[in-house]
Symmetry: none
Subunit: 243 residues, 2 copies
Protein backbone atom coordinates (compact mmCIF):
# COMPACT_ATOMS: atom_id res chain seq x y z
CA UNK A 1 0.00 0.00 0.00
CA UNK A 2 1.26 3.45 -0.92
CA UNK A 3 4.45 1.71 -2.09
CA UNK A 4 4.74 4.18 -4.95
CA UNK A 5 5.17 7.08 -2.51
CA UNK A 6 8.79 7.77 -1.54
CA UNK A 7 9.49 10.01 1.41
CA UNK A 8 12.81 11.80 0.88
CA UNK A 9 14.64 13.62 3.67
CA UNK A 10 17.32 16.07 2.62
CA UNK A 11 20.34 16.67 4.88
CA UNK A 12 18.59 15.89 8.14
CA UNK A 13 20.68 17.07 11.11
CA UNK A 14 19.17 15.09 13.96
CA UNK A 15 19.08 11.32 13.59
CA UNK A 16 16.23 11.19 16.12
CA UNK A 17 14.08 12.96 13.56
CA UNK A 18 14.84 10.29 10.97
CA UNK A 19 13.63 7.65 13.42
CA UNK A 20 10.49 9.62 14.23
CA UNK A 21 9.75 10.00 10.51
CA UNK A 22 10.12 6.24 10.03
CA UNK A 23 7.63 5.65 12.84
CA UNK A 24 5.18 8.17 11.38
CA UNK A 25 5.44 6.46 8.00
CA UNK A 26 4.87 2.96 9.32
CA UNK A 27 1.90 4.16 11.40
CA UNK A 28 0.34 5.22 8.12
CA UNK A 29 1.23 2.12 6.14
CA UNK A 30 4.26 3.51 4.31
CA UNK A 31 7.78 2.12 4.19
CA UNK A 32 9.70 3.80 1.36
CA UNK A 33 12.22 6.12 2.99
CA UNK A 34 15.11 7.78 1.22
CA UNK A 35 17.83 9.89 2.81
CA UNK A 36 19.97 12.47 1.03
CA UNK A 37 23.23 13.11 2.90
CA UNK A 38 21.94 12.56 6.43
CA UNK A 39 24.35 14.06 8.95
CA UNK A 40 24.37 10.95 11.17
CA UNK A 41 22.95 7.67 9.94
CA UNK A 42 22.60 4.96 11.06
CA UNK A 43 22.49 6.19 14.65
CA UNK A 44 21.16 4.96 18.00
CA UNK A 45 18.85 8.00 18.31
CA UNK A 46 17.20 7.11 15.02
CA UNK A 47 16.61 3.54 16.13
CA UNK A 48 15.27 4.65 19.51
CA UNK A 49 12.78 7.12 18.09
CA UNK A 50 11.72 4.69 15.37
CA UNK A 51 10.30 2.48 18.11
CA UNK A 52 8.92 -0.56 16.26
CA UNK A 53 9.60 0.92 12.84
CA UNK A 54 13.25 -0.04 12.64
CA UNK A 55 12.45 -2.14 9.57
CA UNK A 56 11.66 1.09 7.72
CA UNK A 57 14.99 2.50 8.87
CA UNK A 58 16.91 -0.60 7.86
CA UNK A 59 15.50 -0.53 4.35
CA UNK A 60 16.05 3.23 3.93
CA UNK A 61 18.21 4.09 0.94
CA UNK A 62 20.91 6.72 1.22
CA UNK A 63 21.80 9.05 -1.66
CA UNK A 64 24.44 11.70 -2.16
CA UNK A 65 22.20 14.08 -4.10
CA UNK A 66 18.52 14.91 -4.33
CA UNK A 67 18.71 14.43 -8.08
CA UNK A 68 19.68 10.78 -7.63
CA UNK A 69 17.08 10.25 -4.92
CA UNK A 70 14.23 11.35 -7.20
CA UNK A 71 15.60 9.88 -10.43
CA UNK A 72 12.79 7.32 -10.74
CA UNK A 73 9.98 9.68 -9.64
CA UNK A 74 7.38 10.89 -12.12
CA UNK A 75 5.92 13.45 -9.73
CA UNK A 76 7.89 15.31 -7.08
CA UNK A 77 6.53 17.44 -4.24
CA UNK A 78 8.76 19.71 -2.19
CA UNK A 79 7.50 20.57 1.29
CA UNK A 80 7.69 24.23 2.12
CA UNK A 81 6.50 26.35 5.02
CA UNK A 82 7.94 29.61 3.75
CA UNK A 83 6.41 31.82 1.13
CA UNK A 84 8.70 31.92 -1.84
CA UNK A 85 9.46 34.98 -3.85
CA UNK A 86 9.03 33.00 -7.02
CA UNK A 87 5.74 31.22 -6.75
CA UNK A 88 5.75 27.54 -7.58
CA UNK A 89 2.48 25.75 -8.20
CA UNK A 90 1.42 24.38 -4.84
CA UNK A 91 -0.91 21.86 -3.25
CA UNK A 92 -1.87 21.29 0.35
CA UNK A 93 -1.10 17.87 1.83
CA UNK A 94 -4.78 17.00 1.48
CA UNK A 95 -4.96 18.08 -2.14
CA UNK A 96 -1.83 16.07 -2.89
CA UNK A 97 -3.40 12.98 -1.31
CA UNK A 98 -6.76 13.48 -2.97
CA UNK A 99 -5.18 13.98 -6.38
CA UNK A 100 -2.44 11.38 -6.35
CA UNK A 101 -3.67 8.49 -4.21
CA UNK A 102 -5.75 7.05 -7.00
CA UNK A 103 -5.57 3.81 -8.90
CA UNK A 104 -4.74 5.80 -12.03
CA UNK A 105 -1.53 6.98 -10.34
CA UNK A 106 -0.66 3.64 -8.77
CA UNK A 107 2.08 2.97 -11.28
CA UNK A 108 3.66 6.37 -10.95
CA UNK A 109 6.42 6.95 -8.47
CA UNK A 110 5.72 10.02 -6.34
CA UNK A 111 8.50 11.72 -4.38
CA UNK A 112 7.72 13.76 -1.27
CA UNK A 113 10.77 15.81 -0.36
CA UNK A 114 11.31 17.28 3.12
CA UNK A 115 14.21 19.64 3.73
CA UNK A 116 16.54 20.53 6.57
CA UNK A 117 15.18 21.08 10.08
CA UNK A 118 16.19 24.73 10.18
CA UNK A 119 16.15 25.93 6.62
CA UNK A 120 13.98 23.57 4.58
CA UNK A 121 14.70 23.16 0.88
CA UNK A 122 16.84 25.50 -1.16
CA UNK A 123 15.46 27.07 -4.30
CA UNK A 124 17.67 24.96 -6.60
CA UNK A 125 16.18 21.88 -4.90
CA UNK A 126 12.64 23.15 -5.38
CA UNK A 127 13.50 23.60 -9.04
CA UNK A 128 13.51 19.80 -9.22
CA UNK A 129 9.96 19.62 -7.83
CA UNK A 130 6.68 19.83 -9.68
CA UNK A 131 4.72 21.25 -6.79
CA UNK A 132 5.23 22.86 -3.43
CA UNK A 133 3.58 20.78 -0.72
CA UNK A 134 2.00 22.94 1.97
CA UNK A 135 0.63 22.05 5.39
CA UNK A 136 -1.90 24.69 6.43
CA UNK A 137 -0.96 26.09 9.83
CA UNK A 138 -0.73 29.14 12.07
CA UNK A 139 1.05 31.68 9.92
CA UNK A 140 2.63 33.29 12.96
CA UNK A 141 4.33 30.05 13.98
CA UNK A 142 4.56 27.92 10.92
CA UNK A 143 7.65 25.79 11.40
CA UNK A 144 6.54 22.23 12.05
CA UNK A 145 8.96 19.71 13.45
CA UNK A 146 10.24 17.50 10.62
CA UNK A 147 8.56 14.35 11.94
CA UNK A 148 5.34 16.26 12.64
CA UNK A 149 5.24 17.43 9.03
CA UNK A 150 5.89 13.88 7.81
CA UNK A 151 3.13 12.64 10.13
CA UNK A 152 0.54 15.00 8.67
CA UNK A 153 1.53 14.19 5.06
CA UNK A 154 1.53 10.42 5.61
CA UNK A 155 -1.75 10.66 7.51
CA UNK A 156 -3.42 12.43 4.59
CA UNK A 157 -2.12 9.80 2.17
CA UNK A 158 -3.39 7.02 4.42
CA UNK A 159 -6.82 8.63 4.73
CA UNK A 160 -7.07 9.02 0.98
CA UNK A 161 -6.02 5.41 0.44
CA UNK A 162 -8.75 4.25 2.83
CA UNK A 163 -11.75 6.19 1.71
CA UNK A 164 -13.94 3.49 3.12
CA UNK A 165 -17.02 4.38 5.15
CA UNK A 166 -15.98 5.56 8.58
CA UNK A 167 -17.74 5.19 11.88
CA UNK A 168 -20.81 7.33 12.26
CA UNK A 169 -21.92 9.17 15.33
CA UNK A 170 -24.67 6.60 15.76
CA UNK A 171 -22.38 3.62 15.51
CA UNK A 172 -22.28 2.79 19.15
CA UNK A 173 -21.84 -0.87 19.56
CA UNK A 174 -22.87 -4.39 19.03
CA UNK A 175 -26.52 -4.25 20.16
CA UNK A 176 -29.33 -3.58 17.73
CA UNK A 177 -30.90 -0.16 17.94
CA UNK A 178 -34.37 -0.14 19.46
CA UNK A 179 -37.21 0.00 16.97
CA UNK A 180 -39.81 2.77 16.99
CA UNK A 181 -42.27 0.32 18.45
CA UNK A 182 -39.89 -0.50 21.29
CA UNK A 183 -39.28 3.19 21.88
CA UNK A 184 -43.02 3.91 22.06
CA UNK A 185 -43.42 1.20 24.72
CA UNK A 186 -40.42 2.69 26.48
CA UNK A 187 -41.97 6.18 26.52
CA UNK A 188 -45.31 4.77 27.70
CA UNK A 189 -43.52 2.98 30.54
CA UNK A 190 -41.58 6.15 31.41
CA UNK A 191 -44.82 8.14 31.53
CA UNK A 192 -46.51 5.58 33.80
CA UNK A 193 -43.48 5.49 36.07
CA UNK A 194 -43.41 9.25 36.43
CA UNK A 195 -47.10 9.18 37.33
CA UNK A 196 -46.62 6.32 39.79
CA UNK A 197 -43.84 8.04 41.70
CA UNK A 198 -45.80 11.29 41.79
CA UNK A 199 -43.39 13.26 39.61
CA UNK A 200 -45.70 14.11 36.80
CA UNK A 201 -47.61 17.33 36.97
CA UNK A 202 -50.45 16.63 34.58
CA UNK A 203 -50.49 20.19 33.29
CA UNK A 204 -46.88 20.07 32.25
CA UNK A 205 -46.56 16.43 31.29
CA UNK A 206 -46.68 17.28 27.63
CA UNK A 207 -43.69 19.58 27.59
CA UNK A 208 -41.70 17.34 29.94
CA UNK A 209 -42.40 14.32 27.75
CA UNK A 210 -41.41 16.28 24.66
CA UNK A 211 -38.05 17.08 26.23
CA UNK A 212 -37.49 13.51 27.35
CA UNK A 213 -38.38 12.21 23.90
CA UNK A 214 -35.97 14.61 22.32
CA UNK A 215 -33.27 13.45 24.73
CA UNK A 216 -33.76 9.71 24.25
CA UNK A 217 -34.43 9.95 20.53
CA UNK A 218 -31.14 11.63 19.88
CA UNK A 219 -29.43 9.03 22.11
CA UNK A 220 -30.46 6.24 19.75
CA UNK A 221 -30.97 3.67 22.47
CA UNK A 222 -30.09 0.08 21.75
CA UNK A 223 -32.29 -2.78 22.94
CA UNK A 224 -30.03 -3.58 25.89
CA UNK A 225 -30.19 0.01 27.12
CA UNK A 226 -33.97 0.00 26.83
CA UNK A 227 -34.02 -3.17 28.93
CA UNK A 228 -31.84 -1.61 31.63
CA UNK A 229 -33.85 1.61 31.81
CA UNK A 230 -37.18 -0.24 31.92
CA UNK A 231 -35.73 -2.41 34.68
CA UNK A 232 -35.03 0.76 36.66
CA UNK A 233 -38.57 2.02 35.97
CA UNK A 234 -40.04 -1.22 37.33
CA UNK A 235 -38.08 -0.95 40.56
CA UNK A 236 -39.11 2.69 40.97
CA UNK A 237 -42.76 1.74 40.41
CA UNK A 238 -42.68 -1.15 42.86
CA UNK A 239 -40.62 0.64 45.43
CA UNK A 240 -43.61 1.52 47.62
CA UNK A 241 -45.04 -1.97 47.49
CA UNK A 242 -42.05 -3.37 49.35
CA UNK A 243 -42.15 -4.04 53.05
CA UNK B 1 -9.04 30.75 17.84
CA UNK B 2 -9.82 27.27 19.07
CA UNK B 3 -9.51 28.67 22.61
CA UNK B 4 -12.38 26.45 23.73
CA UNK B 5 -10.37 23.30 22.93
CA UNK B 6 -8.27 22.04 25.82
CA UNK B 7 -5.60 19.44 25.15
CA UNK B 8 -5.13 17.28 28.22
CA UNK B 9 -2.15 14.97 28.69
CA UNK B 10 -2.50 12.28 31.34
CA UNK B 11 0.60 11.05 33.20
CA UNK B 12 3.08 11.78 30.43
CA UNK B 13 6.41 10.05 31.14
CA UNK B 14 8.76 11.96 28.87
CA UNK B 15 8.91 15.73 29.28
CA UNK B 16 10.23 16.00 25.71
CA UNK B 17 6.85 14.78 24.52
CA UNK B 18 5.10 17.55 26.44
CA UNK B 19 7.27 20.08 24.66
CA UNK B 20 6.63 18.52 21.27
CA UNK B 21 2.88 18.58 21.94
CA UNK B 22 3.09 22.29 22.83
CA UNK B 23 4.85 22.95 19.54
CA UNK B 24 2.28 20.93 17.58
CA UNK B 25 -0.50 22.91 19.25
CA UNK B 26 1.00 26.31 18.55
CA UNK B 27 1.67 25.35 14.92
CA UNK B 28 -2.06 24.82 14.63
CA UNK B 29 -3.14 27.92 16.49
CA UNK B 30 -3.92 26.30 19.83
CA UNK B 31 -2.57 27.21 23.25
CA UNK B 32 -4.71 25.55 25.92
CA UNK B 33 -2.62 22.76 27.43
CA UNK B 34 -3.46 20.88 30.62
CA UNK B 35 -1.30 18.26 32.31
CA UNK B 36 -2.51 15.60 34.72
CA UNK B 37 0.31 14.34 36.95
CA UNK B 38 3.16 14.75 34.49
CA UNK B 39 6.17 12.72 35.61
CA UNK B 40 8.63 15.57 35.09
CA UNK B 41 7.44 19.11 34.54
CA UNK B 42 8.73 21.74 34.06
CA UNK B 43 11.82 20.20 32.50
CA UNK B 44 14.60 21.28 30.14
CA UNK B 45 13.65 18.58 27.62
CA UNK B 46 10.13 19.98 27.40
CA UNK B 47 11.43 23.49 26.78
CA UNK B 48 13.92 22.26 24.17
CA UNK B 49 11.35 20.30 22.17
CA UNK B 50 8.78 23.09 22.43
CA UNK B 51 11.10 25.21 20.30
CA UNK B 52 9.33 28.57 20.01
CA UNK B 53 6.20 27.33 21.78
CA UNK B 54 7.49 27.80 25.32
CA UNK B 55 4.66 30.27 25.93
CA UNK B 56 2.22 27.36 25.58
CA UNK B 57 4.29 25.39 28.10
CA UNK B 58 4.48 28.27 30.54
CA UNK B 59 0.72 28.71 30.57
CA UNK B 60 0.02 24.97 30.87
CA UNK B 61 -2.08 24.09 33.91
CA UNK B 62 -1.21 21.10 36.06
CA UNK B 63 -3.86 18.95 37.76
CA UNK B 64 -3.75 16.01 40.13
CA UNK B 65 -6.68 14.16 38.55
CA UNK B 66 -8.33 13.88 35.17
CA UNK B 67 -11.65 14.67 36.81
CA UNK B 68 -10.39 18.09 37.88
CA UNK B 69 -8.77 18.73 34.52
CA UNK B 70 -12.06 18.26 32.66
CA UNK B 71 -14.39 19.73 35.29
CA UNK B 72 -15.36 22.68 33.07
CA UNK B 73 -15.61 20.66 29.83
CA UNK B 74 -18.99 20.00 28.24
CA UNK B 75 -17.64 17.55 25.68
CA UNK B 76 -14.74 15.20 26.35
CA UNK B 77 -12.89 13.05 23.81
CA UNK B 78 -10.52 10.30 24.88
CA UNK B 79 -7.89 9.28 22.35
CA UNK B 80 -7.60 5.56 21.90
CA UNK B 81 -5.66 3.34 19.55
CA UNK B 82 -6.79 0.07 21.07
CA UNK B 83 -10.05 -1.69 20.42
CA UNK B 84 -12.05 -1.84 23.62
CA UNK B 85 -14.19 -4.72 24.76
CA UNK B 86 -17.07 -2.42 25.58
CA UNK B 87 -17.47 -0.22 22.60
CA UNK B 88 -17.70 3.47 23.32
CA UNK B 89 -19.15 5.77 20.70
CA UNK B 90 -16.26 6.96 18.62
CA UNK B 91 -15.27 9.64 16.14
CA UNK B 92 -12.24 10.00 14.00
CA UNK B 93 -10.13 13.12 14.48
CA UNK B 94 -11.65 14.50 11.29
CA UNK B 95 -15.22 13.79 12.40
CA UNK B 96 -14.49 15.43 15.75
CA UNK B 97 -13.19 18.53 14.00
CA UNK B 98 -16.01 18.66 11.47
CA UNK B 99 -18.65 18.28 14.17
CA UNK B 100 -17.27 20.45 16.95
CA UNK B 101 -15.34 23.28 15.30
CA UNK B 102 -18.41 25.34 14.59
CA UNK B 103 -19.67 28.68 15.77
CA UNK B 104 -22.56 26.94 17.53
CA UNK B 105 -20.02 25.13 19.74
CA UNK B 106 -17.76 28.12 20.26
CA UNK B 107 -18.99 28.62 23.81
CA UNK B 108 -18.60 24.99 24.80
CA UNK B 109 -15.42 23.79 26.36
CA UNK B 110 -14.11 20.68 24.61
CA UNK B 111 -11.52 18.44 26.26
CA UNK B 112 -9.22 16.26 24.16
CA UNK B 113 -7.56 13.72 26.42
CA UNK B 114 -4.37 11.87 25.47
CA UNK B 115 -3.10 9.09 27.72
CA UNK B 116 0.23 7.63 28.70
CA UNK B 117 2.90 6.95 26.07
CA UNK B 118 2.88 3.20 26.64
CA UNK B 119 -0.59 2.36 27.81
CA UNK B 120 -2.93 5.18 26.80
CA UNK B 121 -6.03 5.79 28.89
CA UNK B 122 -7.50 3.39 31.41
CA UNK B 123 -11.12 2.32 31.18
CA UNK B 124 -12.13 4.34 34.25
CA UNK B 125 -10.68 7.40 32.53
CA UNK B 126 -12.57 6.67 29.32
CA UNK B 127 -15.71 6.46 31.45
CA UNK B 128 -15.34 10.22 31.87
CA UNK B 129 -15.28 10.74 28.10
CA UNK B 130 -18.19 11.16 25.70
CA UNK B 131 -16.38 9.78 22.67
CA UNK B 132 -13.33 7.81 21.77
CA UNK B 133 -11.17 9.83 19.44
CA UNK B 134 -9.54 7.68 16.79
CA UNK B 135 -6.79 8.42 14.33
CA UNK B 136 -7.12 6.09 11.35
CA UNK B 137 -3.84 4.26 10.81
CA UNK B 138 -2.09 1.02 9.91
CA UNK B 139 -3.79 -1.55 12.13
CA UNK B 140 -0.64 -3.62 12.30
CA UNK B 141 1.35 -0.76 13.78
CA UNK B 142 -1.09 1.60 15.34
CA UNK B 143 0.75 3.23 18.21
CA UNK B 144 1.46 6.82 17.25
CA UNK B 145 3.96 8.84 19.19
CA UNK B 146 2.13 11.12 21.64
CA UNK B 147 3.17 14.33 19.90
CA UNK B 148 2.39 12.83 16.49
CA UNK B 149 -1.15 12.02 17.64
CA UNK B 150 -1.53 15.54 19.03
CA UNK B 151 -0.21 16.93 15.73
CA UNK B 152 -2.83 15.10 13.67
CA UNK B 153 -5.68 16.09 16.00
CA UNK B 154 -4.65 19.77 16.16
CA UNK B 155 -4.12 19.81 12.40
CA UNK B 156 -7.67 18.56 11.79
CA UNK B 157 -9.07 21.18 14.17
CA UNK B 158 -7.09 23.90 12.40
CA UNK B 159 -8.29 22.78 8.97
CA UNK B 160 -11.90 22.71 10.17
CA UNK B 161 -11.55 26.14 11.79
CA UNK B 162 -10.52 27.54 8.42
CA UNK B 163 -13.50 26.22 6.55
CA UNK B 164 -16.89 27.72 6.06
CA UNK B 165 -19.44 26.98 8.76
CA UNK B 166 -21.93 24.32 7.72
CA UNK B 167 -25.01 22.82 9.33
CA UNK B 168 -24.40 20.89 12.50
CA UNK B 169 -25.47 17.53 13.82
CA UNK B 170 -24.39 18.49 17.30
CA UNK B 171 -26.66 21.51 17.49
CA UNK B 172 -29.11 20.19 19.97
CA UNK B 173 -30.86 23.13 21.49
CA UNK B 174 -30.80 26.41 23.25
CA UNK B 175 -29.76 25.28 26.75
CA UNK B 176 -26.14 25.12 27.83
CA UNK B 177 -24.67 21.65 27.85
CA UNK B 178 -23.99 20.19 31.28
CA UNK B 179 -20.36 20.36 32.41
CA UNK B 180 -18.42 17.26 33.45
CA UNK B 181 -18.79 18.32 37.05
CA UNK B 182 -22.58 18.53 36.70
CA UNK B 183 -22.60 15.15 34.97
CA UNK B 184 -20.60 13.57 37.81
CA UNK B 185 -23.19 14.83 40.31
CA UNK B 186 -25.87 13.48 38.00
CA UNK B 187 -24.26 10.02 37.88
CA UNK B 188 -23.81 10.02 41.66
CA UNK B 189 -27.49 10.85 42.08
CA UNK B 190 -28.47 8.16 39.57
CA UNK B 191 -26.37 5.60 41.46
CA UNK B 192 -27.94 6.55 44.81
CA UNK B 193 -31.40 6.40 43.32
CA UNK B 194 -30.84 2.95 41.89
CA UNK B 195 -29.60 1.80 45.29
CA UNK B 196 -32.57 3.42 47.09
CA UNK B 197 -35.18 1.76 44.90
CA UNK B 198 -33.44 -1.59 45.21
CA UNK B 199 -32.50 -1.89 41.56
CA UNK B 200 -28.78 -2.06 41.91
CA UNK B 201 -27.12 -5.43 42.17
CA UNK B 202 -23.85 -4.50 43.81
CA UNK B 203 -21.92 -7.12 41.88
CA UNK B 204 -23.02 -5.76 38.54
CA UNK B 205 -23.30 -2.08 39.37
CA UNK B 206 -20.02 -1.34 37.63
CA UNK B 207 -20.99 -2.64 34.22
CA UNK B 208 -24.51 -1.17 34.51
CA UNK B 209 -23.07 2.22 35.42
CA UNK B 210 -20.61 2.01 32.54
CA UNK B 211 -23.47 1.38 30.14
CA UNK B 212 -25.55 4.20 31.59
CA UNK B 213 -22.58 6.57 31.41
CA UNK B 214 -22.03 5.62 27.83
CA UNK B 215 -25.67 6.32 27.08
CA UNK B 216 -25.92 9.69 28.82
CA UNK B 217 -22.46 10.84 27.76
CA UNK B 218 -23.27 10.38 24.12
CA UNK B 219 -26.63 12.12 24.70
CA UNK B 220 -24.83 15.32 25.72
CA UNK B 221 -27.42 16.38 28.27
CA UNK B 222 -28.14 20.04 28.65
CA UNK B 223 -28.60 21.57 32.08
CA UNK B 224 -32.39 21.61 31.81
CA UNK B 225 -32.46 17.90 31.02
CA UNK B 226 -30.21 17.17 33.98
CA UNK B 227 -32.65 19.11 36.17
CA UNK B 228 -35.63 17.14 34.88
CA UNK B 229 -33.96 13.77 35.29
CA UNK B 230 -32.72 14.60 38.78
CA UNK B 231 -36.24 15.73 39.63
CA UNK B 232 -37.47 12.29 38.61
CA UNK B 233 -34.74 10.65 40.69
CA UNK B 234 -35.81 12.61 43.75
CA UNK B 235 -39.42 11.51 43.39
CA UNK B 236 -38.35 7.90 42.90
CA UNK B 237 -36.17 8.10 46.02
CA UNK B 238 -38.88 9.68 48.16
CA UNK B 239 -41.66 7.55 46.78
CA UNK B 240 -41.75 5.21 49.79
CA UNK B 241 -41.73 8.07 52.26
CA UNK B 242 -45.13 9.24 51.09
CA UNK B 243 -48.34 8.29 52.86
Amino acid sequence: MLANFKLILVETSHPGNIGAVARAMKNMGMDQLRLVNPKLFPHADATARASGADDVLRSAQVYSSLQEAIADCQIVFGASARDRTISWPSMTARECAENFVKPVHAHETVGLVLGRENSGLKNHELDLCHYLLRIPCNQEYSSLNLAAAAQVICYELFIASNQQPSSSIGDIGEEALASSEQMESFYQHLLETMADIGFLHPERSKSIMRRLRRLFNRSQLDTKEVDILRGIFRFAQNHNQKP
